[in-house]
Symmetry: C2
Subunit: 351 residues, 2 copies
């Protein structure tokens, strides 16, 4: 962020050696965006991909389908509030839900490392099915590969999902317009700090739990309350800051946040301060941010608060015409700071 | 195979330590089948999964979709006839095609190891797109994760696919009936021996090429020539032997093969003999086996031979009522041998 401020908004942060893949290329931040922009988009030219939403909307025989995929490499495999199995189901359901789709079917592809305890696999498979059952989604197809000890890390899971998009619904980050409201469904940073605490054996580990959850019923309730949504995002890797920067860049708008309105649990805030982390960049797995016409914002927040996963929903900011595409935040102290996209890699293998 | 003969057909081969995942659990043979039967099927209870076909057929708003997923962990990443990118596209297209579906859309999820040369990634991404373009299929959504050096192996790719199944078409391995013909589209073992040759630096490496190819247009031509197909399979991991054993087990039938009718390239046969491998168990990535009513077999073989990927198509055997579920082969020497499912792991990370 400092780099960008010094450079006067126009010069991207200097990137490290690009001859090889870096951990930061998987961070969901600037290096990820660079990889997508410079390597994937020029090669993969399908218009559905060019939208850069979390899911593709494709048409099959007049039926609008949402289609998405995500690999999960979280470490450790088990953590308070979930495991790699629940995460793999919730993450893909959420990518469908962010497109307004009703999730229907999931595929599960496992890459196992030789020597993985069979009991771990059994627990993870049970988690996958339980999470899918709770969400009312069917796991209908799968695949298993095994790599030699030392060529993987226990288990990697790739889930893909198909959902059906309601007729007439158009959601896309580039639809955000000045004056729109920015809504957040609850506290930020819970998942990321849980993983970090577990991994490093830090003292706060028992106090925080991952927020991993399937958000499709919350989205359905919200869509029933307004037909003026622009887009939904689940702020996972790169955190809320990166999700909002993506929206600002897609729509060519500014986003102005009110820091006091953004809920952060006390234990998460304390852990972040201790470690010098900014909760705006810490991953979430059961939260969403939505852009909606300001006229409907209060009504939608009421509906969100009536849902178990939206009890602490808030209006956290406003879309502005300028400065574009910049996310700014009016801090608790009355100053304004720029909330840039995550530059490096705050915490690898968060999901 | 010897074990099974000695035990009199009823006792499965003794399985090694099941407390941990073994390389053989990814072989496509007996250990893979055990994992599916004992762990995945009891957990994942969706009826589409229970069919154990290479793809799920699901219905969305009256439209029959095929949905499939596969992870690719092949080593080395580049080999004569293709690379992990072409394989990832062809493999998933073929799984859709084996359900009779017209492949429409693919997702691509990458798990990269920190330190992967950017140039390798660039080549593989180009291969993915070129293979999809040639097949007329769109790559519409994707994901990238990066794991630390030593926690992966260069690149793993998971592709998922959606296709549309023609109205009224019913294909399933359990539909095979005594009297049906078994058709094969060409020579076996090319892909597996290519990978093995590359990996071990063997002398025959220059003589063989992977058969990696997308089979959906061949399947479409075949379906146009007969409406009495029972099922299609692409004999990948575990080879032709394992694919036919799966069909025999699903349908509760026997399958009798004629060894002289099964095409094996001279260089592949030589390499197999040198290494003590049976081409019946070596992986293919551009071949299919089909079960069809005997009355239509000759006509279908003619159609296959008119397609570039079916020039060496043959009728290789017949479905029998007994012994069930056993695959037998009348050898070149006039004897009969049992062709069991692959027991261990002939060659890990073949795809």
């Amino acid at each position: 962020m400092t780099e960008r401020l010094e450079a006067g908004f126009s010069c991207p942060a200097p990137l490290a050696d690009r001859r090889t893949v870096l951990l930061g290329h998987g961070s969901g931040g600037k290096l990820s965006a660079e990889l997508v922009r410079d390597l994937f988009l020029p090669a993969f030219r399908h218009p559905a991909l060019a939208c850069l939403n979390d899911q593709a909307i494709v048409e099959v025989k007049g039926c609008r389908l949402a289609f998405t995929t995500d690999s999960f490499v979280v470490k450790p495999l088990f953590f308070p509030g979930g495991d790699i199995g629940t995460l793999a189901v919730h993450g893909t359901i959420n990518d469908l839900a962010m497109g307004g789709a009703q999730p229907l079917f999931l595929s599960v592809a496992l890459i196992l490392e030789e020597g993985l305890p069979m009991e771990s696999l059994r627990r993870i498979v049970a988690s996958l099915q339980q999470a899918a059952d709770r969400a009312g989604v069917g796991i209908v197809t799968g695949d298993t590969k095994v790599v030699e000890k030392g060529s993987g890390d226990g288990i990697f899971i790739t889930t893909s999902g198909i959902g059906v998009v309601p007729d007439g619904l158009m959601l896309s980050a580039d639809l955000a317009r000045p004056g729109d409201s920015v809504l957040l469904s609850g506290s930020i940073g819970d998942h990321g700090m849980t993983i970090l605490g577990q991994r490093e054996g830090l003292e706060f580990e028992s106090a925080v739990r991952s927020d991993s959850a399937a958000l499709h019923t919350l989205v359905a309730d919200m869509l029933a309350a307004s037909d003026r949504f622009r887009c939904f995002r689940d702020p996972t890797r790169g955190g809320l800051a990166s999700a909002l920067n993506e929206i600002a860049a897609s729509a060519g708008v500014g986003i102005e946040l009110e820091e006091p309105s953004i809920p952060v649990r006390e234990e998460v805030r304390g852990a972040c301060e201790l470690l010098g982390l900014d909760p705006m960049y810490v991953a979430n797995e059961g939260k969403l941010v939505a852009i909606v016409d300001a006229a409907d914002a209060d009504r939608v927040v009421d509906v969100m608060r009536a849902h178990p996963l939206g009890r602490f929903a808030r209006r956290i900011g406003t879309v502005r015409a300028a400065p574009s595409p910049v996310v700014t935040m009016r801090t608790t102290f009355g100053t304004t700071r720029i909330v840039d996209m995550l530059a490096g890699d705050q915490l690898p293998r968060i999901c």
